[in-house]
């Protein structure tokens, strides 16, 4: 089984098709590498596709352009989704995904910026990415640059106190070039995120912390495009997007089943997933 061939982003990209291709590649990557977090990756795909193929001002040929928009995968355990998105966007060859987690390879299980073009930060320890993003957004303001900064967090990540330190500081600075997207799939590693720590009402929490909050279906590509395409949004506040998602989205037997936080798909399950995704 080989990775699905990419669409061509220079033309108007077919986000829906890209999402299916990227999902298929992620399932395959998990199978090949025996790396977990498949459900977490699948819930993020539509957000990543919308960001990288619609919203971000980026040039894969110039990944270090100081004026580029920044996207930080703060939920670093979703690295496979980021890698696949970056590859499909042209940051590195799709074939390189075959080296995911391989000995001596450049694609470790959590993002590593040194070896992978397009990866902005080393994440994997949760609760770091938003604060890093604040620093980047603040640097843009200080240096009079117009780039925007997006950080993608998991709902479980919102357990971390640093997320709320960051939320307070960004609000105090009225950092309207900063977007915190919460991949709200309602699960964390060992249970429902609402049951582990009392997360609800998540949108109200961000609102009362001083953010302009939008709730969205995290798999509605058009709605995501509208939101991510309008940053700053005129509110003068940092933007929080609560993206309601489904863990394992796109593969029926993985959806909302937290076993897929750690489970590795068999070859047969990969084939079934690809068939569902319409990828041959």
């Amino acid at each position: 089984m080989t990775f699905p061939s990419p669409s061509h982003p220079q033309e108007k990209p077919d986000l829906e098709k890209l999402s299916r291709q990227i999902r298929a590649s992620i399932v395959e990557m998990s199978h090949r590498s025996k790396a977990p977090h498949l459900g977490s990756c699948l819930s993020s795909v539509d957000i990543l596709v919308t960001a990288y193929f619609h919203a971000l001002s980026i040039d894969p040929k110039r990944p270090d352009d100081p004026t580029r928009d920044r996207f930080i995968l703060s939920k670093g355990h979703g690295a496979a989704a980021l890698y696949s998105t970056l590859a499909h966007r042209g940051f590195f060859p799709i074939q390189q995904l075959e080296t995911y987690c391989a000995d001596g390879g450049s694609l470790p299980e959590h993002p590593a910026p040194h070896s992978t073009p397009g990866v902005e930060a080393a994440t994997g320890s949760l609760g770091h990415g938003l604060s890093l993003g604040i620093g980047m957004a603040l640097a843009g303001r200080i240096q009079n640059q117009k780039y925007r900064v997006f950080a993608l967090l998991s709902d479980g990540e919102c357990n971390e106190g640093t997320v709320w330190e960051a939320a307070l500081f960004a609000a105090a600075q009225r950092l309207d070039s900063l977007v915190s997207i919460i991949d709200f799939n309602k699960w964390q590693a060992t249970g429902r995120s609402q049951e582990v720590l009392s997360l609800d009402p998540l949108a109200s929490k961000w609102e009362t912390f001083g953010w302009n909050v939008h709730e969205v279906d995290g798999h509605d590509l058009k709605a995501l495009s509208r939101l991510l395409g309008k940053v700053p949004d005129g509110s003068g506040q940092p933007i929080a997007i609560i993206a309601h998602t489904i863990k394992g989205k796109g593969v029926s037997f993985m959806e909302d089943d937290n076993n897929w936080h750690y489970r590795i798909p068999t070859a047969e399950e990969v084939a079934a997933a690809w068939e569902e995704l319409g990828i041959t």
């Binding site: 620093g135 640097a139 240096q143």
Partner: protein
């Protein structure tokens, strides 16, 4: 030392528009002038040091030169993972300034004591560790740190430390300064015990024990050329620090020595015990109690000399 820091950071910010000062809700008055001159380059990050450290890393990853400042334990062990990952992994040129080295804030209790910070910081890849010995060294060290491109930890005292140097020295990172010459005992002092080291050295020399005193303002990278020389030519090499006697300068030198074939000199590590101190007291009381005053240092050195003869 903190006033020297405040003055120098303001001077450097005037020279380098990349310099951004972050404070963890302390030092407002001493930074008033900085804030007036550079209002878009001063940020009070509140009592949220972990966020401050990651913000500093983010700034540094976008071509700025952030300097993060608060009380020593809160800017080191409180946010150690942020330093390890966001600063050091990314090799982000963040300058971490801890005010209140060792027992500078002795009277505030164990929450504010800082005798493990050198150890934490020197373990981290890419991190330089500088512990200046007087206010002029603070200024020289800050200049040198901002002239290089990596993460650095600057450990400073509080206020009122005596000046030892006559002017701001050229601080070469990793190259100690010889403060007094001698031949038998070499005291390698790091940080705010430099006045104690010098007084102890003078007392020893006056009693016939010729003592060299060095200000080892950089614990990492170690001045290996100096170590090579002094372990080959002195009877006793003493490390002196207001820090645990393990893990800091003494620990670093012991590790270095362990890789050498039978050095001529004996190593004597003088520092704080691995313990919390529960009782109230000021810095000078603590130093006296722990033998980190001139008399205590002299006594330890004389005792070892006695054992060697």
């Amino acid at each position: 030392m903190r006033n020297a820091f405040a003055r120098e950071i303001e001077d450097l910010a005037a020279l380098d528009e990349r310099v951004v000062l972050l404070s963890g809700d302390i030092g407002n008055r001493i930074f008033n002038s900085f804030k007036e001159r550079f209002p878009d380059r001063f940020y009070n990050c509140g009592i949220a040091e972990a966020n401050m450290m990651s913000v500093a890393a983010g700034l540094a990853m976008c071509n700025l030169r952030p300097v993060a400042y608060t009380i020593t334990p809160f800017i080191t062990v409180r946010c150690l993972e942020q330093i390890r990952l966001d600063v050091c992994y990314h090799q982000a040129p963040v300058t971490i300034v801890g005010v209140g080295a060792g027992f500078s804030y002795a009277s505030l209790g164990a929450t504010h004591h800082s005798c493990e910070d050198i150890a934490y910081m020197r373990l981290l890849p890419n991190m330089s560790v500088l512990c200046p010995g007087d206010p002029f060294e603070v200024r020289g060290a800050l200049r040198s740190i901002l002239a290089q491109d990596g993460p650095a930890y600057l450990r400073i005292g509080k206020k009122g430390e005596p000046t030892i140097h006559a002017s701001i020295p050229d601080i070469e990172i990793g190259r100690a300064i010889v403060m007094a010459e001698g031949e038998t005992v070499c005291i390698l002092s790091t940080g705010n015990l430099l006045p104690i080291a010098i007084e102890a050295g003078q007392n020893l020399s006056a009693s016939g024990i010729s003592t060299r005193v060095c200000s080892v303002h950089t614990v990492k990278p170690l001045d290996e050329a100096l170590l090579e020389e002094v372990f080959g030519s002195f009877r006793i090499v003493v490390t002196l620090e207001e820090h645990l006697a393990i893990g800091g300068l003494g620990g670093s030198v012991a590790e270095w020595v362990s890789g050498r074939p039978w050095p001529a000199a004996r190593l004597l590590r003088i520092g704080a015990p691995v313990d919390f101190i529960h009782e109230a007291g000021c810095q000078s009381y603590y130093r006296q109690r722990l033998g980190l005053d001139p008399a205590g240092v002299v006594e330890k050195i004389q005792r070892l000399l006695g054992e060697l003869t």
